[in-house]
């Protein structure tokens, strides 16, 4: 079952992969997410936009189990495991179910090489344990070989093969973002959550990144949920868009519709000043 290219075909009857229903998240007295509902179709590139502090990253953290929302259901229709409510699940369990993510500020394992960074993601789901590793049992060796190959494939996909043995902390910023995507892809996700993948990259890197995201979506069939500030990137990539402001969904729809939505424009005009200095 060497699904190196991971061409999972949807087997579920429903075509939604995520159904977030009425999720509310509070920190003390601050409401970070208020009654948020959204759904993502399988194989879709969905974007969540909104001004700074609108709760986008909080939403990601709820989806991946870092935060536990006080109210609401997050239904994940996995091809492998059927429908699961992700609320209250541990982050690593959620990852094994097929939800992978990147972080807003790139969080590489800096003392490891590019290769090792990706390999960690690939092999986390493998079965072999410490005894196999100590004794070099055949299964461990086979799994090591498999994950080596998969890692090389991923490196090629994101175009970092030449950086194979570079330490992650000495990679240029754009490469780090690509590495993070590759690392998340290594876990064989059904849906990939990208938290501002283009933050801090230059225009040409942005183009390449958009191309990469499209390729991933098309070739592996992975659904992509995207947080991004760069409007041009979002409009060119996303099939549908949700707009968050002050922890609430204020609009959703096709990119063209969103662009014309007065409420969104208002929210963004209020926020452009913040973004200017970001």
């Amino acid at each position: 079952m060497s699904d190196v290219t991971n061409t999972t075909t949807p087997v579920m009857t429903t075509d939604n992969i995520f159904e977030v229903q009425n999720v509310t998240l509070r920190f003390g007295g601050v409401t970070s997410l208020n009654n948020v509902s959204l759904e993502q179709h399988r194989g879709e590139i969905l974007a969540v936009i909104g001004p700074n502090g609108a709760g986008k990253t909080s939403l990601f953290n709820c989806l991946t189990g870092v935060y536990r929302p006080q109210e609401g259901i997050i239904n994940f229709h996995a091809a492998k495991h059927g429908t699961v409510d992700l609320v209250g699940k541990q982050p690593h369990r959620i990852c094994h179910m097929g939800v992978a993510r990147t972080f807003q500020t790139s969080r590489m394992f800096n003392a490891l090489t590019t290769f090792e960074n990706i390999k960690i993601g690939v092999e986390a789901s493998q079965k072999s344990g410490p005894i196999g590793a100590m004794l070099h049992l055949p299964r461990t060796r086979r799994e090591e070989r498999e994950s080596d190959h998969r890692t090389l494939d991923l490196l090629e996909l994101v175009g970092l093969t030449h950086r194979l043995n570079t330490m992650a902390d000495s990679l240029p910023y754009g490469d780090r973002r690509r590495l993070e995507i590759a690392r998340a892809l290594g876990t064989n996700p059904e849906v990939l959550l990208l938290d501002e993948p283009a933050a801090g990259t230059n225009p040409s890197e942005k183009l390449a990144l958009a191309e990469l995201i499209r390729t991933i979506n098309k070739e592996t069939g992975t659904s992509i949920l995207l947080i991004e500030h760069d409007m041009r990137l979002v409009m060119s990539l996303a099939e549908r868009i949700y707009v968050l402001n002050f922890g609430e969904v204020i609009a959703s729809g096709q990119p063209a519709q969103i662009q014309q939505n007065p409420e969104v424009v208002a929210a963004y005009l209020g926020a452009t000043a913040d973004e200017g200095d970001a």
Binding site: H92, A100, A111, I120, E123, L135
Partner: protein
């Protein structure tokens, strides 16, 4: 030393200088008390006064004054107030010996070789049995003619040669293969090297060989060892040869893969393998010949230190956690052994051979590790430190007071010793002769070497990478599907199991077990071994254990200061603080750990699994 400064210094001692100076002076006084005679509470303040008015004080006050003056001077120089061109001579000395050797020409190489040879001869001489006598010329010649010397010579040349190979493999890989690159030559050379080693280990090998002596019929333990070491070295030589012969193919196969693998196979496979084999050779052969001081140091201290340090390294170095009650698991191992050999007041349903107690002790220690780790490791990692500290104390208290189970402070009966009586192989630990120590040492070696191999593999496997990921950024690691708790508990339990094994081994050696063997001090000593050597680096930890073990023994035998056994903990505590302040990665650090520390200090990720960063980081 210090050259004439061209610009006249503008000296103005400020408060900062005064503070620096007084700190140094205080340090001198502190050292005076540390190395002086022990105080006594019944005559208060006599203590410090007494220490201060012995000869120490003069030495250390002078030391403090000189150090203070130097520090102040140094500060002035560095801040540019003083101009000291004379200091430049220090820079002329190359600091990196390795690069010096690699970049040197043929003449220099020969010089280095001769120097190394002389060094080897000197080592050979000083480790010889006549170390206490004044060396005469005749003795020197006698040493030279001793077969053991050739062993050292061979090792030195071998290492030099592999270093040369290493240097060549980088630059001249594309050169046409020579006669020495032929496979059969390599295999043959390896076998010959093995035979030379074997001959060094057993000078009469050729004679025995001709008398077809190769059969298991040892009349005594010593003969048994001569047999098996002979086989061992021949076998090693064979392996080296095969390894060398296959190296080309291995290089071709290791096209990419991980950095570690690539480096391991491509560049330095020979060097590494030679170093391993050389280390093994020294570890097996040297203890037979070295001076009694070293024999005692190695058999009684360094051996068990190594085992404990390698185990604790999994917790501190690999997982980035702190275990301050490590010796509790050691105690569990020891009492498990005592229980199953019927040495405790409570009797087991059946007694079993000590060799079979080892797996049981591993189980017990692991179980205790899991029970202790599972609730604690869900929380911030500093709780683990204090809970293990408490656990160590509890085990100590229970062992001392549960008289009807452990015999209390009076000590148990003799715990089970290792013995094996199979056809052809007779092995037993009994009595206190040096031969017994040697047997124990080889037993220890038989446990340590596989453990080294296992833990090294572990560190370079999925498990080791997961530990690295958790150390650096646990949130990111969890988002990649790594179960943080599972891996932390795993590290804790694996570390504990090694301690359990050490407990069985040392109880088998010591016989009766006393609770005082498991005091907190022992735990902290093991922490020092790991921290000083370099957490995460197996080589570092081993050398750290050897060095600290040696120092502690050295202080007992060569007391140039007022030293008693209890003082060592004071010095160990000082080593811990100083290491953390000046070189937290240890003396021989692991590259990965060193990078992590550097990154963590630059706010790039973390370097441990202990929890959120310490607050108030700004100054």
């Amino acid at each position: 030393m210090i050259g004439p400064s061209r610009i006249l210094p503008k000296w103005r001692l400020d408060l900062e200088d005064l503070r620096l100076f007084s700190t140094c002076l205080a340090g001198g006084l502190l050292l005076a008390v540390m190395t002086g005679p022990e105080g006594d509470l019944s005559t208060p303040l006599y203590t410090v006064g007494h220490a201060l008015f012995t000869t120490h004080v003069i030495g250390f006050i002078i030391f403090g004054v000189v150090l203070g003056a130097f520090m102040v001077y140094n500060k002035k120089v560095r801040s540019g107030i003083l101009n000291a061109t004379g200091r430049n001579w220090i820079k002329a000395i190359p600091t990196n010996v390795k690069s010096f050797i690699l970049s040197s020409g043929l003449i220099e190489k020969i010089i280095i070789g001769v120097v190394a040879l002389v060094a080897a001869l000197l080592i050979a001489d000083f480790t010889g049995p006549n170390v206490s006598n004044k060396m005469s010329w005749n003795q020197l010649v006698g040493q030279l003619l001793h077969t053991r010397t050739y062993g050292y010579i061979a090792i030195v040349f071998w290492l030099l040669n592999t270093m040369r190979v290493r240097a060549r493999s980088k630059d001249e890989v594309s050169k046409a293969p020579s006669f020495f690159d032929a496979k059969w030559v390599k295999v043959l050379g390896g076998v010959l090297a093995g035979l030379v080693f074997a001959a060094c280990a057993d000078p009469w090998l050729p004679v025995r060989f001709s008398l077809s002596y190769f059969k298991w019929s040892g009349s005594s333990d010593r003969d048994f060892f001569h047999h098996w070491t002979t086989y061992l070295w021949t076998f090693c030589g064979l392996l080296i040869g095969i390894r060398a012969a296959l190296q080309d193919q291995m290089q071709r196969r290791a096209v990419v893969v991980s950095r570690w693998k690539a480096r391991h196979i491509k560049v330095s496979a020979n060097t590494r393998f030679a170093l391993y084999a050389g280390a093994l050779f020294i570890a097996v052969e040297a203890p037979k010949f070295i001076s009694p001081f070293w024999q005692e140091t190695i058999f009684q201290q360094i051996g068990i230190f190594c085992l404990l340090a390698v185990g604790l390294n999994v917790v501190i170095g690999f997982a980035g956690l702190l275990d301050l009650g490590y010796v509790a698991f050691y105690a569990l191992g020891a009492y498990t052994n005592a229980y199953f050999s019927g040495a405790l007041p409570i009797h087991p349903p059946f007694t079993i051979n000590t060799f079979f107690v080892v797996p049981l002790a591993i189980l017990v220690a692991m179980l205790a590790g899991v029970i202790l780790g599972l609730p604690t490791l869900r929380l911030s990692g500093d709780y683990l430190a204090i809970v293990t500290l408490g656990f160590g104390e509890i085990i100590y208290v229970l062992a001392s007071n549960l008289t009807n189970i452990t015999d209390g402070a009076a000590g148990t009966g003799p715990a089970g010793s290792f013995s094996m009586n199979l056809p052809g192989v007779h092995f037993a630990l009994s009595g206190f002769a040096i031969q017994d120590d040697l047997n124990f040492y080889y037993l220890l070696l038989a446990f340590i070497i596989p453990i080294l191999f296992f833990f090294n593999s572990l560190n370079h496997s999925k498990v080791g990478r997961s530990w690295a990921a958790i150390r650096e950024d646990e949130t990111a690691a969890r988002s990649l599907g790594i179960n943080g708790l599972k891996y932390k508990v795993m590290a804790f339990a694996i570390g504990a199991s090694t301690s359990g094994v050490a407990g069985v081994l040392s109880s088998a050696k010591l016989g009766p077990i006393f609770p005082s063997d498991f005091a907190l001090q022992v735990s902290i000593t093991v922490v020092v071994l790991v921290i000083f050597g370099g957490m995460g680096s197996i080589t570092g930890v081993l050398l750290g254990a050897a060095f600290i073990g040696w120092i502690l023994q050295f202080l007992i035998f060569h007391s140039f200061i007022d030293y008693n056994q209890a003082d060592k903990y004071m010095y160990l505590g000082a080593i811990l603080i100083l290491t953390m302040i000046f070189r937290p990665q240890g003396m021989i650090p692991s590259k990965r750990r060193m990078r992590e520390f550097k990154n963590a200090e630059a706010d790039l990720g973390s370097a441990d699994a202990v929890g959120p960063a310490v607050g108030g980081g700004l100054t």
